[in-house]
Symmetry: C2
Subunit: 213 residues, 2 copies
């Protein structure tokens, strides 16, 4: 979800004794698990969160990565249908689910933010279904990098807080395919891979966009 100016209102509110409370998570710590009762929903303050679903044999599909400003953890029912972990050390603001329920009826800003967040989550889900259903490995990785660079807004250098395994489980690939695709893009001069492997530098954004379809 891009930090596109819709969320700061909420972020601001929570700095002034609003309804949200801060919580902190270490890397790989669980925020909530599939099956938990959904008491809160969250906004990322710093760090990154992954939400995912599992098949009984362990196959994992990461629905999305949530970066600062993003709202996650909204549920239709009482129970968590996804799990959520911190990717790196992460701070979030927790809102009570009942706040949402109470506020959808009033004219408050939070209600509008939440509705907007839902609609944007739906749009991202649609984009991701197109990616998973109809794009090649190279196109998937290119889309992923473009999306990250758009959301991070840090220009050429993109931080990759998540592991190759996380990326693979997001893009519907294996870690080997992710790795191979990245090195291929590097050989083609589209990106550069720093030694520490947890970042990507975009060298040819136009080429990436061309791959995105």
């Amino acid at each position: 979800m891009p930090n596109d100016g819709l969320v700061p209102a909420v972020r601001h509110r929570q700095g002034e004794a609003g309804p949200g409370s801060r919580r902190r998570f270490a890397a790989d710590e669980e925020v909530y698990a599939e099956g938990d009762r959904a008491v809160h929903f969250y906004m990322v303050v710093s760090g990154a969160v992954r939400t995912y679903r599992l098949l009984s044999d362990g196959r994992r599909q990461i629905d999305g990565f949530h970066l600062p400003g993003d709202i996650f953890g909204l549920e239709a029912g009482e129970e968590r249908r996804t799990g959520a972990d911190a990717v790196t050390d992460t701070t979030v603001t927790a809102f009570r689910r009942s706040d949402r329920d109470a506020l959808t009826g009033d004219a408050g800003a939070l209600a509008r933010e939440v509705v907007a967040a839902m609609l944007r989550a739906l749009e991202r889900a649609q984009d991701h279904m197109l990616l998973l259903g109809r794009k090649s490995a190279k196109e998937r990785v290119a889309s992923f990098l473009l999306g990250l660079s758009r959301r991070a807004g840090t220009g050429g250098a993109i931080a990759l807080p998540m592991s190759r395994t996380d990326i693979a489980d997001h893009l519907g690939l294996t870690i080997e395919s992710v790795s191979r695709t990245l090195t291929q893009l590097e050989r083609e001069g589209v990106i550069a891979l720093p030694a520490h492997r947890r970042a990507v530098e975009v060298r040819d954004g136009a080429a990436l966009r061309r791959l995105d379809g």
Copy 2:
């Protein structure tokens, strides 16, 4: 989206000079196109609607099929990000987008219905991302048939209003793979395929559920 008792309130309302107006579409007629201005959102009264996105080279990904009771066509922005066509002859109720905007602020039932519809759409999107990212062709077809039978609620015999091409573009497969998988399931005694090919009879629901992961 299952017709799970949340929508009839809206459907009822529109029978009594509510905000909705009826519109009728022939099979394969366009309800709206990608890029259109999003003036309305819709609820299916009868028939079926597909919403989809296209890549520039023509590859299509169908986000979902919308059956009677389902709400579709909600957008975060001004523009349509998906196209929508009638699958068969279809009747819908159209609501003005401004109604939603006006109503999200009041305590009205429509606002709650719309929020509930968004959350359910999000859940279905999550299920579908898991399917597209991590399931085999056989698992995809099994999930699809189970989902349809659950939503149609007609027990053993499931109507398939959509073509093999539509199913393929929904499941991220080709028509050949869909066809082969259906015949394979038939050979295994899990389903039966009537001669007219636009329905499926479930013979072994447990086997289908086992395949669903």
